[in-house]
Symmetry: C2
Subunit: 307 residues, 2 copies
């Protein structure tokens, strides 16, 4: 791993809540430690973290708690992009101050059909206000959810204005052609492309991609990280197929609720199944069906139930 | 006007910023006073207020400033629906404590394709946590932007669970058939329907609608409020056509920037043109063209330039 540069596999770490829907940092620390133990970095406060259901104060506190628990900030890429400019500035400043390896920044996502000028203005304003040479921004392209795409022209303009600071992108378009275009267009400028799903991990590595940031890294971290590292091995395609089989099962359910259900079952901690509105937990039938499917392929989460 | 119940015309009040993009409460108070002087209520922190580009702390402060300036809280319907549950709770609690006539509540809008169960859970959790019989919630249906529709089934369920608290809806679908269905379905239960554009004002009044909450009420408050009141007059259709002519002009430009431009020109205060990213201000050509079109129909903002 290149020293000091985020790469390989990161997990948009699911956020545990208690019965009163409060974030539980003790369980979050434990899950992060388990992920790091499988060589997976911490993209806390991503889409799959229900980050957009958390207040700024809650995110600040959780990040403080992770760092206080001696988890390595250099392996963290917290999501800091919000609708409101001051929120994005506050979270980004905080992440830089704590020494995070980078931040994953959604564009402001309420107003639709905004121009590249407006999005450039938003990113530029945040970067200028944070005003710290340690800042590494990973753009977050997730048009199916945010509905605000990050265009090639916008990336080009941001890279030119803020070289070194604009460090890469998470491409959650679900479209390999887009990832491939990003790799061809910007890789030579030290712009790292992370695909948003391990389904594209092997293809990405073969094209020089930095890695993946994927929901299912929350539950299948070891095998995903292994393929990211051993992508030149002879059995790489077979390993990719194994990853795909796990992911396909989770994709048949509401993803976040399904990840939390699997963690709750494998950790023996039922509270892990709690999600915040507007999401809802799996019902009993979904839960049984998910676990049966996972058992059917011998799915395991080694070391999760560590007391 | 029914005592104590919001009705008629409300403006999603545009939020003035200074050159450093900070909200300017002095100018906001002045604009609110001008709107009230034209019998238009204050739906502050709506979509056209760039509310989703403001932090919770900024919204709390601005609302405090409005009330401190002796503007009547009973005429206010601040937007309080955010992505994050604790944010919506905080803003709603604050609005109720200050005596606001109601709150306009977006559903959480980041996660897409969420279920009615999840949306019910979100509204229910907020209402329960606020736990105040004075709370009046107006649901905010704006699928073109929030991408999260408020279904008839959801309204039915909320009305049953929280009668009296669920007070109505702002329908910004832009589809009169939807407003008409809402009126037919829920009007008898004391559920007030506000259309999201004065284009539907006359039709809404004729069908028992409570009024409208419309962007262009920021610039054309008097004539819109007059039609809301005098909808049985003989010249009502002609008055509606006059409102439509003004609105059509603004709709040819990015709405929020155009509203602010018109206010900046008519008030003589150039800073009014400032918008926050991701929005951008009109360029010179757009500005000239807008003002020429408005002059062409004799558009005026009487009493705005009061020094």
């Amino acid at each position: 791993m290149t020293h000091g540069r985020l790469q390989g596999v990161l997990s948009p770490v699911v956020t545990p809540f208690d019965g009163a829907l409060r974030p539980d940092s003790r369980r979050l620390v434990r899950h992060c430690r388990w992920l790091l133990g499988h060589n997976v970095g911490l993209a806390v406060f991503g889409t799959n973290s229900e980050a957009n259901s958390l207040s700024v104060a809650e995110k600040v506190q959780l990040l403080e708690d992770l760092v206080a628990a001696a988890l390595p900030a250099g392996r963290m890429m917290p999501g800091t992009g919000c609708c409101a400019l001051p929120d994005s500035v506050e979270l980004t400043q905080h992440a830089v101050r704590l020494g995070c390896g980078g931040v994953l920044m959604l564009p402001p996502f309420y107003y639709k059909n905004v121009s590249d000028d407006g999005l450039f203005g938003s990113y530029a304003e945040i970067i200028e206000r944070v005003g710290d040479s340690r800042l590494r921004v990973y753009l977050y392209h997730i048009p199916p959810i945010a509905q605000i795409p990050i265009s090639l022209k916008l990336i080009e303009r941001l890279l030119k204005a803020y070289p070194g600071t604009i460090a890469g992108i998470k491409d959650s378009s679900g479209d390999w052609r887009n990832s491939s275009t990003l790799l061809q267009s910007f890789q030579s400028e030290g712009f790292d492309v992370f695909v948003g799903s391990e389904s594209f991990l092997l293809a990405a590595r073969r094209s020089g991609g930095a890695g993946c940031i994927s929901a299912t890294a929350n539950v299948n971290p070891g095998p995903i990280a292994a393929l990211a590292q051993n992508w030149t091995a002879e059995d790489a395609d077979r390993k990719q197929a194994e990853l795909d089989a796990v992911r396909r099962i989770f994709q048949r359910y509401p993803m976040i609720a399904a990840l939390k259900t699997a963690i709750s079952v494998h950790s023996g901690l039922p509270e892990w199944a709690v999600v915040r509105p507007p999401l809802i937990a799996l019902d009993g039938a979904q839960r049984d069906s998910l676990m049966t499917e996972l058992d059917g392929i011998g799915f395991a989460m080694p070391g999760l139930a560590h007391g």
